[in-house]
C-alpha cells in the first residue's frame, strides 16, 4: 500500500513538468503553431531560473522571481520561433528543431559555471503540481467557455475565417506561442529549482519531447493531459525504480524516454488521434491565400 502511494506521489512529481510543458504545447498547437522547441525552451528556462536563484543569493522571495525569469526566458525563445514561423512563414518543424538545438546548446554553454552547484533553499513542490492541474482546468475552461477560447480554436482550425471576422490571427498566434514558451520555461524551472535542485547540462533528458508527443496522445485536450502526464510520470518512476533492481544495463533504461515517445505516437496512431489535430496545424497563414 505504502509502495503504491509512494509510486503515485513520485508519478505526480515526475508528471508535473510534463503536464506544464504539455499544456504550453497544446496552447501552441491549438492556434495552429507546432513548436518542437519545447526541449530547448525547457533547458533555457531551467538555466535562467537556476541562475537567478543561485546568483542573487539565497532567499525564498528570489526563488519566485527565478520562476518568473524562467518563464520569461521560455517566452523570449518562443518568440524567436514565432517570428520565424508566423511573420517569416518558415517551416515550423525546422524552426522548432533549430530552437531545441539552440536552447540545449546555449543553456549548456552559459550554464558551465553553475554545474555542480547546489541550491540550498528550494521552493516547495506542491504549488507547482496543484498549479499545473489548476492550469489544465483553466485552459479547458478558456477553450470551451470563453470568447477568447473560441477565437484561439478558430485561428487553429480556419485562420482565413477568423481573419475575415476581424480576429487578429497573427496576434493570437504570437500571444499563444509566447505563453506556450513561458510554460515550457516554467517546466524547466521546476526541474532545476524543485526537482533536482541543481543545474546539469542536459538535465531536461528528453522530457520536452515527451511533452510534445503527449499532446498527440491526449488529443489536444488539456483535461486528458492531466491523466496522460500522470501515466507517463508513473512510467518514468518505474524506469528509475527498476534500474537498481535488475541486471539490465542502465543504457537501456536511459533510452526508455525515447522509446516511450515512439510508443505514444504508435498508440495515438492506433486510436486515430491524428484526426483530432487542429485543421490548420503547421500551416503558416497568409491573407488571401487559399
Amino acid at each position: 500500500m505504502e509502495e503504491i502511494l509512494n509510486a503515485l506521489a513520485r508519478a505526480l512529481s515526475f508528471g508535473t513538468p510534463l503536464l506544464i510543458a504539455c499544456l504550453g504545447a497544446i496552447l501552441n498547437e491549438r492556434v495552429g503553431v507546432v513548436n518542437l522547441g519545447v526541449e530547448g525552451m525547457m533547458a533555457l528556462g531551467a538555466l535562467a531560473g537556476f541562475a537567478l536563484a543561485f546568483g542573487s543569493g539565497v532567499g525564498d522571495g528570489n526563488l519566485w522571481l527565478a520562476v518568473l525569469a524562467a518563464m520569461l526566458a521560455g517566452a523570449l525563445a518562443a518568440l524567436v520561433h514565432g517570428f520565424v514561423t508566423i511573420t517569416l512563414r518558415a517551416n515550423q518543424f525546422v524552426s522548432g528543431l533549430a530552437l531545441t538545438m539552440l536552447g540545449l546548446g546555449a543553456a549548456g554553454l552559459l550554464g558551465k559555471r553553475f554545474e555542480g552547484q547546489p541550491l540550498f533553499n528550494q521552493p516547495p513542490e506542491w504549488p507547482f503540481t496543484l498549479g499545473a492541474i489548476g492550469l489544465a482546468l483553466l485552459l479547458a475552461f478558456v477553450f470551451y467557455a470563453t470568447k477568447i477560447g473560441l477565437s484561439l480554436r478558430s485561428v487553429g482550425e480556419n485562420p482565413a475565417a477568423a481573419d475575415l471576422l476581424g480576429i487578429n490571427v497573427l496576434g493570437v498566434r504570437y500571444a499563444a506561442v509566447a505563453v506556450g514558451g513561458a510554460l515550457a520555461g516554467l517546466a524547466g524551472a521546476y526541474l532545476s529549482l524543485v526537482y533536482r535542485p541543481s543545474w546539469t547540462d542536459g538535465m531536461t533528458a528528453g522530457l520536452g519531447w515527451i511533452a510534445v508527443a503527449l499532446v498527440i496522445f491526449v488529443g489536444w485536450s488539456p483535461l486528458r493531459a492531466i491523466f496522460g502526464a500522470v501515466f507517463f510520470g508513473l512510467l518514468y518512476y518505474l524506469q528509475f525504480r527498476l534500474q537498481g533492481q535488475s541486471g539490465v544495463p542502465s543504457e537501456v533504461f536511459a533510452s526508455l524516454p525515447y522509446l516511450l515517445v515512439i510508443l505514444v505516437l504508435a498508440l495515438s496512431g492506433l486510436r486515430g488521434q491524428q484526426g483530432n489535430a487542429p485543421e490548420a496545424l503547421g500551416k503558416p497563414y497568409r491573407r488571401g491565400e487559399r
Partner: protein
C-alpha cells in the same frame, strides 16, 4: 426609387498587366436584387473583394446611403453593413453552428450558448432553418450557406453579396434559397447576386449588370433581358443554348458494372451495390450531391481505389486496378480536383502534358528523357486546344482554371481513349471554355468513346447526356433516358425523393 443603399462610382483596380475593374459604376436600392454577370476574368471577383475590404480600389468611390466610405478590411465591410456569402464557405468545420456564429461577436463567457436565442430569432424571421448545435462539417452545402447568411444578418448586414450561391445546390435547395432571398428583399435588404446560371438570374433578379473585361457592358432591368441577350453581352458574341447532343451512335457495351461495393477513405460504405452499363459512343450522366459516392465510383474506374465486392468489366475484361495500365487500355480520367489531382502545379505545361507517357518513346530514350519530344508534343497540344499560356515552360499553377482544364483534356484525350471519366469537367469555367470542353467530349463520342460524365450542374447533364443516373447515399437510381426525366425529377432523386 429614392437613394441607393450602395453605390459604386468609377471604381478602377489595376493589377500588374491587367485592369481588373475599369471605371465600374453600379448601384443597388433597398429591397432590390441586382444580378452581377460576367465571364471568369470579367472582374466580378475583384469587385467583390473591393466591396468586402480585401482589395483597395486605385480610383473611384463607394457610397453607403449617400455617405462616402472607405472599406479597409472585411471587418470594416461588416460594420458598414455589407455581408458576403462566399462561394466556398469560410466556416470552421469542427465547430458547431453557434460557435461559428459567435466568433468575433459573442459574449466573453459562454459565447456559443448565449448567441442561440439571437440565431433562432433571425432564422425564424427569414425562414432560414438551421440547427445551432450541429457541427458544421455535418451540414450540406445548402445548410452551410444558410449559416453564412445568418452570420451576415447577425452582424446587421443591409447589403448581402451572394457569390455563385447556387453552384453547389440542388434545384430544390436553390428554390428554397430564392424564397429566403425574397424574404430578405421584402425586409428592405439589398442583394447582389452573382451567377453563371442565366435561368436563375432571370428568375430572381430585378436588374442585371453585365461585366466584360473589367467594364460594365450593360445594366438593364430583368424584364428587358433574355438568356441569349445576356449571354451575348457576357461573351461578346452570340451563344447557342440548344441541346448539344445530336444523333448519338451507340456501339457495343463498353463498361459493365455489376453490384459494385466500395468503401470510402473513412472506411464507410460509399457504394452499396451499383450496377449499370455504358456503351461505346454514349454519354452517361451521373448526377448527385457531392459526397454520395461519385468520387469513389470514378476512383474505382480509374484504378485508384479497391473494390469491396462486385464486378467491373471493361470491354468484356475484368478491370485491372492500375491507373497506368488502364490508361494504356484507353481509360482517360478528367479528375474533379483539376489542380492537385489533374496536374502537378509546380511543373511546366510541357511536363504536365507528358505525365501519362513520359516513360515511353519518344519522351524517354533509355532512362534519359528527351526534352525535344516534350517541347514538340507541348507545342502541338497547346495549339490544338488553344491553351492560353505564356510559354510551354510556364508552371501550370500560373494558368487559369480553364486553361489548366484544357491541359488535362489535351493530355488525357491524346490518342484514342475508349472510356472517358469526366468529373465536373466545366466546374468554375466560363461560357467560352465550357463550350470548348463540351465540344471536345462530344467529338470523342462520335469517334466511338464512351463518356461517364459526373457533374453537379444539371443543365450540363441534361444538355450532354444520353442517359442520366442519380447517386444517392451510395445507391444508383436509373439510368433514365434523358427525354424521359425532367430536371425536377432528377433534383428529387438527388435528395433521396421519388421521381
Amino acid at each position: 426609387m429614392g437613394e441607393p443603399l450602395l453605390r459604386l462610382q468609377n471604381i478602377t483596380k489595376r493589377f500588374p498587366g491587367v485592369v481588373a475593374n475599369d471605371s465600374v459604376s453600379l448601384e443597388v436600392y433597398p429591397g432590390e436584387v441586382l444580378a452581377l454577370l460576367g465571364e471568369n476574368g470579367a472582374g466580378k471577383s475583384t469587385l467583390i473583394s473591393i466591396l468586402y475590404g480585401l482589395y483597395r480600389p486605385d480610383e473611384g468611390e463607394i457610397f453607403i446611403e449617400g455617405r462616402p466610405v472607405k472599406i479597409a478590411s472585411p471587418l470594416d465591410a461588416l460594420r458598414l453593413g455589407i455581408g458576403l456569402v462566399p462561394q466556398h464557405p469560410t466556416l470552421v468545420g469542427r465547430h458547431t453552428v453557434a460557435e461559428n456564429l459567435a466568433l468575433g461577436i459573442g459574449t466573453p463567457l459562454l459565447p456559443a450558448r448565449r448567441i442561440v436565442p439571437l440565431i433562432e430569432r433571425i432564422a425564424q424571421g427569414y425562414g432560414l432553418h438551421i440547427d445551432p448545435k450541429a457541427p458544421v462539417h455535418q451540414l450540406s452545402p445548402g445548410e452551410k450557406q444558410r449559416v453564412e447568411i445568418v452570420r451576415a444578418l447577425l452582424r446587421g448586414a443591409k447589403v448581402l453579396i451572394l457569390d455563385e450561391p447556387t453552384s453547389v445546390l440542388t434545384p430544390q435547395e436553390a428554390e428554397a434559397l430564392f424564397q429566403v432571398m425574397r424574404e430578405l428583399k421584402a425586409a428592405g435588404k439589398s442583394l447582389i447576386f452573382i451567377s453563371h446560371k442565366l435561368e436563375e438570374v432571370l428568375a430572381i433578379a430585378d436588374r442585371c449588370t453585365v461585366l466584360r473585361r473589367g467594364r460594365v457592358v450593360s445594366s438593364l432591368p430583368t424584364p428587358e433581358a433574355s438568356k441569349t441577350k445576356l449571354a451575348q453581352m457576357m461573351v461578346g458574341r452570340s451563344v447557342s443554348f440548344e441541346r448539344k447532343r445530336a444523333n448519338p451512335q451507340m456501339g457495343e457495351v463498353l463498361l459493365r458494372v455489376e453490384d459494385l461495393q466500395v468503401r470510402s477513405g473513412r472506411n464507410l460504405p460509399a457504394l452499396r451495390g451499383v450496377s449499370f452499363e455504358l456503351c461505346a459512343g454514349e454519354i452517361l450522366g451521373i448526377a448527385g450531391v457531392a459526397g454520395n459516392g461519385q468520387s469513389e465510383l470514378v476512383e474505382v474506374l480509374a484504378g485508384l481505389r479497391k473494390m469491396e465486392g462486385g464486378m467491373v468489366r471493361l470491354a468484356g475484361q475484368p478491370l485491372v486496378a492500375n491507373p497506368a495500365r488502364l490508361f494504356a487500355q484507353g481509360v482517360a480520367h478528367i479528375p474533379e480536383d483539376r489542380i492537385h489531382m489533374g496536374t502537378v502545379p509546380s511543373m511546366s505545361v510541357a511536363e504536365n502534358l507528358a505525365l501519362r507517357t513520359f516513360h515511353q518513346a519518344p519522351f524517354a530514350r533509355g532512362f534519359l528523357s528527351n526534352p525535344a519530344a516534350y517541347a514538340a508534343n507541348a507545342e502541338a497540344r497547346v495549339k490544338e486546344y488553344a491553351v492560353a499560356t505564356p510559354s510551354i515552360h510556364t508552371p501550370s499553377r500560373l494558368l487559369s482554371g480553364g486553361n489548366i482544364q484544357k491541359v488535362i483534356l489535351a493530355r488525357e484525350l491524346a490518342g484514342q481513349p475508349r472510356l472517358i471519366l469526366a468529373v465536373h469537367p466545366t466546374y468554375g469555367l466560363d461560357i467560352g471554355a465550357t463550350e470548348q470542353v463540351h465540344r471536345v467530349l462530344l467529338e470523342k463520342t462520335y469517334q466511338g468513346a464512351g463518356v461517364l460524365l459526373v457533374s453537379e450542374d444539371l443543365e450540363e447533364l441534361l444538355s450532354l447526356s444520353d442517359r442520366i443516373a442519380v447517386l444517392y447515399q451510395g445507391r444508383l437510381r436509373g439510368p433514365y433516358p434523358v427525354g424521359q426525366i425532367s430536371r425536377e425529377q432528377v433534383g428529387l432523386l438527388m435528395t433521396g425523393g421519388e421521381a
